[in-house]
Amino acid sequence: MSAPAAAVGREPSVARDLIALTKPRIISLLLLTTLAPMFVAGSPSWATILWTGIGGYLMAGGANAVNMYLDRDIDHMMARTKLRPIPSGRLSARAVLAFGIAIATAATWLLGHFVNVLTSALALGGFYFYVFVYTRWLKRTTPQNIVLGGAAGAFPPLVGWAAVTGQVDLASLYLFLIIFYWTPPHFWALALLKQHDYGRAGVPMAPNIWGERETIDQMLWYSVLLLALSVLPVTFGVFGLVYQASAIALGGVLLVGVWRVRTRAARGESWTAVAWSVYKFSLLYLALLFVAMAIDRHWRIG
Protein backbone atom coordinates (compact mmCIF):
# COMPACT_ATOMS: atom_id res chain seq x y z
CA MET A 1 0.00 0.00 0.00
CA SER A 2 1.33 3.44 -0.86
CA ALA A 3 1.95 5.96 1.88
CA PRO A 4 -1.04 8.25 1.27
CA ALA A 5 -3.45 5.37 0.91
CA ALA A 6 -2.11 3.76 4.08
CA ALA A 7 -2.41 7.05 5.89
CA VAL A 8 -6.14 7.22 5.29
CA GLY A 9 -6.64 3.45 5.61
CA ARG A 10 -7.84 3.01 2.02
CA GLU A 11 -6.71 0.73 -0.79
CA PRO A 12 -5.20 2.74 -3.65
CA SER A 13 -7.28 2.72 -6.81
CA VAL A 14 -6.99 4.25 -10.25
CA ALA A 15 -10.27 6.10 -9.73
CA ARG A 16 -9.03 7.63 -6.48
CA ASP A 17 -5.78 8.67 -8.15
CA LEU A 18 -7.59 10.22 -11.10
CA ILE A 19 -9.70 12.26 -8.71
CA ALA A 20 -6.53 13.25 -6.81
CA LEU A 21 -5.04 14.53 -10.09
CA THR A 22 -7.81 17.12 -10.33
CA LYS A 23 -6.96 18.51 -6.83
CA PRO A 24 -10.59 18.46 -5.62
CA ARG A 25 -9.93 20.50 -2.46
CA ILE A 26 -8.46 23.39 -4.45
CA ILE A 27 -11.21 23.13 -7.05
CA SER A 28 -13.89 23.53 -4.37
CA LEU A 29 -12.70 27.13 -3.86
CA LEU A 30 -12.45 27.69 -7.62
CA LEU A 31 -16.03 26.45 -8.01
CA LEU A 32 -17.24 28.80 -5.29
CA THR A 33 -15.60 31.72 -7.11
CA THR A 34 -17.29 30.55 -10.31
CA LEU A 35 -20.79 29.96 -8.96
CA ALA A 36 -21.16 32.91 -6.53
CA PRO A 37 -20.61 35.51 -9.29
CA MET A 38 -23.42 33.85 -11.27
CA PHE A 39 -25.85 35.00 -8.57
CA VAL A 40 -24.35 38.49 -8.66
CA ALA A 41 -24.68 38.67 -12.45
CA GLY A 42 -28.33 37.63 -12.52
CA SER A 43 -30.69 34.74 -11.86
CA PRO A 44 -29.13 31.66 -13.45
CA SER A 45 -31.23 28.58 -14.26
CA TRP A 46 -30.41 25.30 -12.49
CA ALA A 47 -29.21 23.86 -15.81
CA THR A 48 -26.76 26.76 -16.31
CA ILE A 49 -25.47 26.35 -12.75
CA LEU A 50 -25.08 22.59 -13.21
CA TRP A 51 -23.28 22.72 -16.58
CA THR A 52 -21.05 25.61 -15.52
CA GLY A 53 -20.14 23.72 -12.34
CA ILE A 54 -19.38 20.47 -14.17
CA GLY A 55 -17.51 22.24 -16.98
CA GLY A 56 -15.59 24.38 -14.50
CA TYR A 57 -14.56 21.34 -12.44
CA LEU A 58 -13.40 19.39 -15.50
CA MET A 59 -11.45 22.33 -16.94
CA ALA A 60 -9.69 23.15 -13.66
CA GLY A 61 -9.14 19.42 -13.02
CA GLY A 62 -7.63 19.02 -16.49
CA ALA A 63 -5.30 21.96 -15.88
CA ASN A 64 -4.21 20.49 -12.53
CA ALA A 65 -3.52 17.08 -14.12
CA VAL A 66 -1.45 18.60 -16.95
CA ASN A 67 0.37 20.69 -14.32
CA MET A 68 1.29 17.48 -12.47
CA TYR A 69 2.57 16.03 -15.76
CA LEU A 70 4.74 19.10 -16.44
CA ASP A 71 6.07 19.22 -12.87
CA ARG A 72 6.82 15.50 -12.67
CA ASP A 73 10.58 16.20 -12.62
CA ILE A 74 10.38 18.29 -9.43
CA ASP A 75 7.36 16.90 -7.57
CA HIS A 76 9.41 14.09 -6.02
CA MET A 77 11.75 16.68 -4.45
CA MET A 78 9.09 18.42 -2.37
CA ALA A 79 7.37 16.95 0.69
CA ARG A 80 4.15 18.68 -0.34
CA THR A 81 4.02 16.98 -3.76
CA LYS A 82 6.09 13.79 -3.55
CA LEU A 83 3.04 11.60 -2.82
CA ARG A 84 1.21 12.66 -6.00
CA PRO A 85 0.27 9.81 -8.39
CA ILE A 86 3.22 10.31 -10.82
CA PRO A 87 6.16 10.65 -8.35
CA SER A 88 4.82 7.78 -6.25
CA GLY A 89 4.65 5.59 -9.37
CA ARG A 90 0.93 4.83 -9.20
CA LEU A 91 0.15 6.40 -12.60
CA SER A 92 2.29 6.84 -15.70
CA ALA A 93 3.10 10.38 -16.85
CA ARG A 94 1.53 9.75 -20.27
CA ALA A 95 -1.72 8.54 -18.70
CA VAL A 96 -1.90 11.66 -16.54
CA LEU A 97 -1.31 13.92 -19.56
CA ALA A 98 -3.96 12.09 -21.60
CA PHE A 99 -6.44 12.28 -18.72
CA GLY A 100 -5.86 16.02 -18.25
CA ILE A 101 -6.26 16.81 -21.95
CA ALA A 102 -9.33 14.56 -22.22
CA ILE A 103 -11.29 16.16 -19.40
CA ALA A 104 -10.29 19.70 -20.46
CA THR A 105 -11.51 18.89 -23.99
CA ALA A 106 -14.77 17.51 -22.56
CA ALA A 107 -15.17 20.70 -20.49
CA THR A 108 -14.63 22.90 -23.55
CA TRP A 109 -17.38 21.05 -25.44
CA LEU A 110 -19.80 20.91 -22.47
CA LEU A 111 -19.49 24.63 -21.72
CA GLY A 112 -19.72 25.62 -25.40
CA HIS A 113 -22.72 23.35 -26.06
CA PHE A 114 -24.79 23.76 -22.88
CA VAL A 115 -23.78 27.25 -21.65
CA ASN A 116 -22.26 29.57 -24.28
CA VAL A 117 -19.15 29.98 -26.41
CA LEU A 118 -17.70 32.87 -24.39
CA THR A 119 -17.89 30.82 -21.18
CA SER A 120 -16.14 27.94 -22.91
CA ALA A 121 -13.46 30.25 -24.37
CA LEU A 122 -12.77 31.90 -21.00
CA ALA A 123 -12.49 28.55 -19.22
CA LEU A 124 -10.11 27.32 -21.94
CA GLY A 125 -8.17 30.60 -21.61
CA GLY A 126 -7.74 29.87 -17.89
CA PHE A 127 -6.51 26.36 -18.74
CA TYR A 128 -3.93 27.66 -21.23
CA PHE A 129 -2.80 30.43 -18.89
CA TYR A 130 -2.26 27.99 -16.02
CA VAL A 131 -0.51 25.34 -18.12
CA PHE A 132 1.59 27.44 -20.48
CA VAL A 133 2.01 30.90 -18.95
CA TYR A 134 2.26 29.91 -15.27
CA THR A 135 3.59 26.34 -15.18
CA ARG A 136 5.75 26.33 -18.33
CA TRP A 137 6.93 29.93 -18.44
CA LEU A 138 6.77 31.84 -15.15
CA LYS A 139 6.97 29.24 -12.38
CA ARG A 140 10.63 28.34 -12.86
CA THR A 141 11.95 31.61 -14.24
CA THR A 142 10.89 34.48 -11.97
CA PRO A 143 10.16 35.19 -8.29
CA GLN A 144 7.11 37.10 -9.56
CA ASN A 145 5.69 33.78 -10.81
CA ILE A 146 2.67 33.78 -8.56
CA VAL A 147 1.96 37.51 -9.01
CA LEU A 148 1.39 37.18 -12.76
CA GLY A 149 0.39 33.52 -12.48
CA GLY A 150 -2.38 34.59 -10.12
CA ALA A 151 -4.34 35.49 -13.26
CA ALA A 152 -4.83 31.76 -13.93
CA GLY A 153 -6.80 31.33 -10.71
CA ALA A 154 -8.74 34.53 -11.40
CA PHE A 155 -10.54 33.22 -14.49
CA PRO A 156 -13.40 31.39 -12.64
CA PRO A 157 -15.46 34.53 -11.81
CA LEU A 158 -15.22 35.60 -15.47
CA VAL A 159 -16.48 32.14 -16.45
CA GLY A 160 -19.41 32.31 -14.03
CA TRP A 161 -20.28 35.87 -15.07
CA ALA A 162 -20.16 35.06 -18.78
CA ALA A 163 -22.34 31.99 -18.22
CA VAL A 164 -25.17 34.23 -17.00
CA THR A 165 -24.70 37.44 -19.00
CA GLY A 166 -22.87 36.25 -22.12
CA GLN A 167 -20.32 39.05 -21.67
CA VAL A 168 -17.43 40.33 -19.56
CA ASP A 169 -17.70 43.81 -18.10
CA LEU A 170 -16.13 46.07 -15.47
CA ALA A 171 -17.93 44.39 -12.57
CA SER A 172 -16.66 40.93 -13.57
CA LEU A 173 -13.19 42.39 -14.08
CA TYR A 174 -13.18 43.44 -10.42
CA LEU A 175 -13.94 39.86 -9.34
CA PHE A 176 -10.96 38.80 -11.47
CA LEU A 177 -8.76 41.48 -9.86
CA ILE A 178 -9.79 40.49 -6.33
CA ILE A 179 -8.46 36.96 -6.88
CA PHE A 180 -5.42 38.29 -8.77
CA TYR A 181 -4.37 40.54 -5.85
CA TRP A 182 -5.39 37.97 -3.23
CA THR A 183 -2.91 35.43 -4.65
CA PRO A 184 0.40 37.01 -3.47
CA PRO A 185 -0.43 37.27 0.27
CA HIS A 186 -2.13 33.87 0.10
CA PHE A 187 0.56 31.94 -1.72
CA TRP A 188 3.60 33.71 -0.26
CA ALA A 189 2.36 32.81 3.25
CA LEU A 190 2.71 29.17 2.16
CA ALA A 191 5.95 29.82 0.24
CA LEU A 192 7.52 31.34 3.38
CA LEU A 193 6.83 28.10 5.22
CA LYS A 194 7.90 25.81 2.36
CA GLN A 195 10.90 27.80 1.11
CA HIS A 196 13.36 24.95 1.69
CA ASP A 197 11.16 22.63 -0.37
CA TYR A 198 11.00 25.16 -3.21
CA GLY A 199 14.73 25.80 -2.94
CA ARG A 200 15.46 22.06 -3.23
CA ALA A 201 13.29 21.84 -6.35
CA GLY A 202 14.86 24.97 -7.87
CA VAL A 203 11.60 26.92 -8.03
CA PRO A 204 12.49 30.63 -7.61
CA MET A 205 9.80 31.63 -5.11
CA ALA A 206 10.02 35.18 -3.73
CA PRO A 207 11.19 34.18 -0.19
CA ASN A 208 14.09 32.18 -1.70
CA ILE A 209 15.22 34.90 -4.12
CA TRP A 210 14.17 38.19 -2.52
CA GLY A 211 14.40 37.09 1.09
CA GLU A 212 11.78 36.87 3.82
CA ARG A 213 11.69 40.58 4.71
CA GLU A 214 11.00 41.82 1.18
CA THR A 215 8.39 39.09 0.62
CA ILE A 216 6.55 39.88 3.86
CA ASP A 217 6.66 43.62 3.02
CA GLN A 218 5.05 42.91 -0.34
CA MET A 219 2.44 40.63 1.28
CA LEU A 220 1.50 43.57 3.48
CA TRP A 221 1.13 46.03 0.59
CA TYR A 222 -0.75 43.51 -1.53
CA SER A 223 -3.16 43.06 1.42
CA VAL A 224 -3.73 46.85 1.60
CA LEU A 225 -4.24 46.98 -2.18
CA LEU A 226 -6.66 44.04 -2.00
CA LEU A 227 -8.68 45.68 0.77
CA ALA A 228 -9.00 48.95 -1.17
CA LEU A 229 -9.70 47.24 -4.48
CA SER A 230 -12.37 44.98 -2.99
CA VAL A 231 -14.36 48.05 -1.87
CA LEU A 232 -14.32 49.77 -5.28
CA PRO A 233 -17.19 47.75 -6.90
CA VAL A 234 -19.48 49.39 -4.30
CA THR A 235 -18.80 52.82 -5.84
CA PHE A 236 -20.43 51.96 -9.16
CA GLY A 237 -23.32 50.02 -7.74
CA VAL A 238 -22.31 46.36 -8.08
CA PHE A 239 -22.61 45.77 -4.34
CA GLY A 240 -24.09 47.46 -1.28
CA LEU A 241 -23.55 47.64 2.44
CA VAL A 242 -23.52 43.90 3.26
CA TYR A 243 -20.66 43.32 0.85
CA GLN A 244 -18.85 46.53 1.79
CA ALA A 245 -18.88 45.66 5.49
CA SER A 246 -17.74 42.10 4.73
CA ALA A 247 -14.92 43.27 2.44
CA ILE A 248 -13.61 45.73 5.03
CA ALA A 249 -13.89 43.26 7.94
CA LEU A 250 -12.32 40.32 6.07
CA GLY A 251 -9.63 42.47 4.47
CA GLY A 252 -8.88 44.00 7.87
CA VAL A 253 -8.38 40.58 9.48
CA LEU A 254 -6.07 39.50 6.63
CA LEU A 255 -4.10 42.74 6.95
CA VAL A 256 -3.71 42.33 10.72
CA GLY A 257 -2.49 38.74 10.21
CA VAL A 258 0.18 39.80 7.70
CA TRP A 259 1.14 42.74 9.96
CA ARG A 260 1.69 40.27 12.82
CA VAL A 261 3.97 38.16 10.61
CA ARG A 262 5.93 41.29 9.71
CA THR A 263 6.21 42.50 13.30
CA ARG A 264 7.37 39.12 14.59
CA ALA A 265 9.88 38.76 11.74
CA ALA A 266 11.23 42.27 12.44
CA ARG A 267 11.67 41.44 16.14
CA GLY A 268 13.43 38.19 15.30
CA GLU A 269 10.62 36.14 16.89
CA SER A 270 9.13 32.97 15.40
CA TRP A 271 6.48 33.85 12.82
CA THR A 272 5.77 30.44 11.28
CA ALA A 273 2.56 29.77 13.24
CA VAL A 274 1.20 33.21 12.33
CA ALA A 275 2.14 32.72 8.66
CA TRP A 276 0.31 29.39 8.67
CA SER A 277 -2.78 31.05 10.18
CA VAL A 278 -2.58 33.78 7.50
CA TYR A 279 -2.46 31.10 4.81
CA LYS A 280 -5.48 29.28 6.26
CA PHE A 281 -7.43 32.50 6.83
CA SER A 282 -6.73 33.66 3.28
CA LEU A 283 -8.65 30.62 2.01
CA LEU A 284 -11.55 31.48 4.29
CA TYR A 285 -11.27 35.15 3.25
CA LEU A 286 -11.87 34.38 -0.41
CA ALA A 287 -14.70 31.94 0.28
CA LEU A 288 -16.52 34.32 2.65
CA LEU A 289 -16.02 37.35 0.39
CA PHE A 290 -17.62 35.58 -2.56
CA VAL A 291 -20.47 34.28 -0.39
CA ALA A 292 -20.97 37.88 0.83
CA MET A 293 -21.22 39.01 -2.81
CA ALA A 294 -24.09 36.61 -3.49
CA ILE A 295 -25.84 37.45 -0.20
CA ASP A 296 -25.48 41.18 -0.81
CA ARG A 297 -26.98 40.91 -4.27
CA HIS A 298 -29.89 38.84 -2.97
CA TRP A 299 -30.48 41.19 -0.03
CA ARG A 300 -30.51 44.28 -2.20
CA ILE A 301 -33.00 42.82 -4.65
CA GLY A 302 -35.18 41.16 -2.00
Binding site: Q144, E214, V231, T235, G240, R300
Partner: protein
Protein backbone atom coordinates in the same frame (compact mmCIF):
# COMPACT_ATOMS: atom_id res chain seq x y z
CA UNK B 1 -21.25 49.67 -18.57
CA UNK B 2 -23.51 47.02 -20.06
CA UNK B 3 -24.80 45.55 -16.81
CA UNK B 4 -27.21 47.63 -14.71
CA UNK B 5 -27.35 47.39 -10.95
CA UNK B 6 -30.07 48.36 -8.49
CA UNK B 7 -29.85 51.62 -6.55
CA UNK B 8 -28.48 51.14 -3.04
CA UNK B 9 -31.01 50.80 -0.22
CA UNK B 10 -28.88 53.08 1.94
CA UNK B 11 -27.14 56.00 0.22
CA UNK B 12 -23.35 55.75 0.42
CA UNK B 13 -20.80 58.56 -0.14
CA UNK B 14 -19.68 56.94 -3.39
CA UNK B 15 -17.22 59.56 -4.66
CA UNK B 16 -15.28 59.89 -1.35
CA UNK B 17 -15.16 56.07 -1.05
CA UNK B 18 -13.81 55.91 -4.60
CA UNK B 19 -11.01 58.43 -3.99
CA UNK B 20 -10.07 56.93 -0.62
CA UNK B 21 -9.81 53.46 -2.20
CA UNK B 22 -7.84 54.83 -5.17
CA UNK B 23 -5.41 56.59 -2.80
CA UNK B 24 -4.82 53.33 -0.91
CA UNK B 25 -4.40 51.40 -4.17
CA UNK B 26 -1.90 54.00 -5.47
CA UNK B 27 0.19 54.04 -2.28
CA UNK B 28 0.22 50.22 -2.14
CA UNK B 29 1.18 49.89 -5.79
CA UNK B 30 4.02 52.40 -5.42
CA UNK B 31 5.32 50.55 -2.33
CA UNK B 32 5.11 47.22 -4.20
CA UNK B 33 7.06 48.66 -7.13
CA UNK B 34 9.71 50.15 -4.79
CA UNK B 35 10.08 46.85 -2.99
CA UNK B 36 10.27 44.94 -6.29
CA UNK B 37 12.91 47.37 -7.60
CA UNK B 38 15.00 46.84 -4.44
CA UNK B 39 14.61 43.07 -4.73
CA UNK B 40 15.49 43.02 -8.44
CA UNK B 41 18.63 45.13 -7.85
CA UNK B 42 19.76 42.77 -5.14
CA UNK B 43 18.88 39.48 -6.85
CA UNK B 44 19.00 39.81 -10.66
CA UNK B 45 22.51 39.29 -11.99
CA UNK B 46 22.37 40.70 -15.51
CA UNK B 47 20.77 43.75 -17.10
CA UNK B 48 18.48 41.79 -19.43
CA UNK B 49 17.08 39.79 -16.49
CA UNK B 50 16.46 43.02 -14.56
CA UNK B 51 14.57 44.44 -17.53
CA UNK B 52 12.34 41.39 -17.75
CA UNK B 53 11.64 41.40 -14.00
CA UNK B 54 10.87 45.11 -14.14
CA UNK B 55 8.44 44.54 -17.03
CA UNK B 56 6.68 41.80 -15.03
CA UNK B 57 6.19 44.31 -12.19
CA UNK B 58 5.01 47.18 -14.40
CA UNK B 59 2.40 45.32 -16.48
CA UNK B 60 -0.13 44.76 -13.64
CA UNK B 61 0.38 48.36 -12.43
CA UNK B 62 -0.41 49.79 -15.88
CA UNK B 63 -3.45 47.52 -16.24
CA UNK B 64 -4.65 48.70 -12.85
CA UNK B 65 -4.46 52.37 -13.93
CA UNK B 66 -6.67 51.55 -16.95
CA UNK B 67 -9.21 49.73 -14.74
CA UNK B 68 -9.27 52.62 -12.24
CA UNK B 69 -9.93 55.12 -15.07
CA UNK B 70 -12.86 53.00 -16.28
CA UNK B 71 -14.07 52.72 -12.67
CA UNK B 72 -14.07 56.51 -12.29
CA UNK B 73 -16.37 56.88 -15.32
CA UNK B 74 -18.68 54.13 -14.02
CA UNK B 75 -18.71 55.62 -10.50
CA UNK B 76 -19.50 59.12 -11.75
CA UNK B 77 -22.35 57.83 -13.95
CA UNK B 78 -23.76 55.75 -11.13
CA UNK B 79 -23.52 58.61 -8.61
CA UNK B 80 -25.37 60.93 -11.03
CA UNK B 81 -28.12 58.33 -11.56
CA UNK B 82 -28.41 57.69 -7.81
CA UNK B 83 -28.64 61.44 -7.19
CA UNK B 84 -31.33 61.91 -9.86
CA UNK B 85 -33.31 59.04 -8.41
CA UNK B 86 -33.05 60.48 -4.88
CA UNK B 87 -34.27 63.91 -6.14
CA UNK B 88 -37.16 62.30 -8.03
CA UNK B 89 -38.19 60.45 -4.88
CA UNK B 90 -38.07 63.72 -2.88
CA UNK B 91 -40.20 65.50 -5.50
CA UNK B 92 -42.82 62.76 -5.60
CA UNK B 93 -43.08 62.57 -1.80
CA UNK B 94 -46.18 64.55 -0.61
Amino acid sequence: MAHSFPAPLVSLPLIPIFWLAVALVAVSQVMILRSTMRAIRAAASDRARRGIEWAYAIVPAVALVVVLAATWHATRDYAVRADLKARANQTSTP
